[in-house]
Symmetry: C2
Subunit: 390 residues, 2 copies
């Protein structure tokens, strides 16, 4: 994929900077996006309006030449890294190598990601390179608007996601109930067992995931508790799955809440209200609407029904205690924000919409779809049904 980086060129021009510099592993999605290269150890990408150049270790050189989208790949050995490290230590050696590398490309001022590493930045500044973190987060903004190819990658990850949600729901549906505990194959059906089934299903569909949430009862009242132990009947079980495609690196994200047995009136009311909030939020999605307005649609529904929200009470610990959603792409959490600070939605933004209610004395309910903003509204990329009882 060749990203459209014209707005980065414009930013470099405005800020009078020669290039944009990244020094990170490809776990940093801006690094992966600009370099088109995956590596576990940090490497350097210099982007200028004329060319993209990588600086890598000998170990990564062959692969980088083959796989990256760079116009040129250089090796640290060409800049005598080893001798410099022996003489000055690794930090100063790296600074000297990076400064020489930038000098080779006529670059004496760079913008960087907000979270560019401090040590290397100081090393370059000590050598009179101007290094300025880009607070506007321009590359993450560029990354937020997906090409059709990227949307297809998310769609493929979401298909794997739905297969794994189906495997989880089937496991819960097939369970027996003994003394209020779900039982499968004569053993208590645990959160860990359901996660394993989800993650194996994802692997069989070419996706990986390390942190599935399968959280029951009070565990589910903490939105980021991953859940543990036996699952119980008559309690809400939140399942939140956000796989990454191993081949493309793109994510999907979806949450469902299931209940085996009989829901209390309160859980049923929470579920229906959350389903209503999901619909209201999606109804609000179109280009030009802000993430804040979509978030407000959810808060309006919850507050109207007497629930607390972070909008009404910034230190609330029960009620709707997170934002409405986020962008999804190479990162599972990226721009745009569907939150009080969320800016305008644009066509190609891939977003989650995930209202939820939480209270340790009741449990948690969350429903999350993933959708893409289109020219005149949105397309929901989720086809998984929304049903509480299984």
């Amino acid at each position: 994929m060749d990203p459209d980086l014209s707005s980065l060129d414009a930013l470099l021009d405005e800020e009078d900077a020669d290039g944009y510099l990244v020094d990170d592993t490809s776990h940093n999605s801006t690094q992966k996006y600009l370099s088109g290269f995956e590596a576990h150890d940090p490497f350097v990408t210099l982007y200028t309006p004329e060319e993209t150049v990588l600086l890598v270790s000998a170990l990564e050189y062959g692969r980088a030449k083959k796989q990256s989208r760079a116009d040129e790949v250089r090796r640290v050995a060409e800049y005598d890294y080893r001798d410099l490290a022996a003489e000055y230590g690794p930090a100063e050696a790296k600074a000297r190598v990076h400064a020489s590398f930038l000098d080779d490309y006529g670059t004496s001022s760079v913008l960087t990601p907000e979270r560019f590493p401090l040590g290397p930045a100081d090393g370059l500044r000590d050598r009179d390179v101007s290094v300025t973190p880009d607070h506007s987060d321009r590359v993450t903004e560029i990354r937020a608007a997906k090409t059709d190819e990227e949307i297809a990658h998310v769609r493929a990850a979401q298909e794997a996601n739905e297969a794994s949600m189906r495997a989880a729901e089937d496991l819960i549906a097939a369970a027996d109930v003994e003394d209020g505990i779900l039982v499968h194959d004569g053993e208590p059906l645990t959160s860990e067992r359901v996660k394993e089934e989800i993650e194996v299903t994802l692997l069989r569909h070419g996706c990986g995931l390390d942190d599935t949430i399968v959280a029951c009862g009070a565990d589910a009242a903490d939105p980021h508790d991953q859940g543990s132990g036996p699952l119980r009947a008559d309690e809400a079980i939140i399942i939140d799955i956000f796989p990454r495609s191993k081949s493309t690196g793109y994510h999907a994200d979806m949450t469902r809440t299931f209940l085996k047995g009989e829901p209390s009136a309160e859980i049923r009311e929470w579920f229906d209200l959350t389903h209503e909030a999901l619909a209201a939020a999606l109804d609000a999605v179109e280009p030009g609407v802000t993430g804040e307005e979509v978030h407000d649609a959810v808060c309006d529904i919850y507050e109207g029904a007497g629930h607390d929200t972070l909008r009404a009470n910034p230190t609330a610990e029960t009620g709707f205690i997170h934002s409405t959603g986020h962008g999804v792409g190479l990162d599972v959490h990226e721009l745009p924000r569907l939150a009080p600070t969320g800016g305008e939605l644009k066509p190609g933004h891939v977003i989650t919409v995930e209202p939820g209610l939480y209270d340790p004395s009741v449990g948690g309910v969350r429903i999350e779809d993933i959708a893409v903003v289109t020219e005149d509204g949105y397309e929901n990329l989720t086809s998984y049904p929304v049903e509480l009882t299984v």
Copy 2:
């Protein structure tokens, strides 16, 4: 686990700094180690000799109080983040919140990891906080020496690793050969299929891994090529597996090279020489020996047999073209280095020893064990056999 941070206290004292500050997700292992907390979004840990304090979002607050090793957990909402972000934007709001937070703990000068994020560092410096990256990498040095509990975590991950290597070897051993291609269940046996089997086996054993290497023939000549496509008979297949335990976060790491069919005389010689290099390197391991000396033991063997090494020729593209090994813990690559820049080994260091030879016209051979440095030598944590032909 309560890590022994006395040498960090000594560093703070030497450098006249009030505290050590980390601003990152728990994917940063120094963050995970100091905070004892796992979260996908960045959070702040302030370590001082008196206490460890976390600064987290509302979303992580409940879980952080329960799970982290911090003495105290604070929320950004307590510092009016939302109002500040509305007035000044997120970067400046964050800087103001962090400065107020540090001020609450009487901290006006901090050391940070070398790769602390630049934007937040500049934000603090603008508010007269002294922020100095610790080039000595003291916390990664502390992390390198493992407690018995941490060694047990690595050992457990290595048991899962050996089960997954067994699954891979069994799949290759059971394959038929048709027209020089391995065939399983009537389909070509691919690198992707073997990786899937490895990763499913790891999941069933409580470990995760996203980037297994199963590389055959010329693919294996590039040490970090992950391999793809049908596996071939009579060619060396490098399998490198480095799982992370989902429960503890600790890694293991092991490589074997397998060949189905008849090895050429050259591959056989490479394999035996590499096995010899592994033994020579392990023989050299004991406290007080440097990583460089262990690396030299491997280079001596290879150079003695007429192979190129990076020691003899820093731009070599064939021969022994990587370092001998690295520490393993919360990171799969961490201190110490078994490389030209490697310092003294100490008891509790968990290290890989992984000699290998590479040439696209021959293929690649690598054998990697994982071991722990003991008071008087080492204990090999690997029990998987070393056999080329399957």
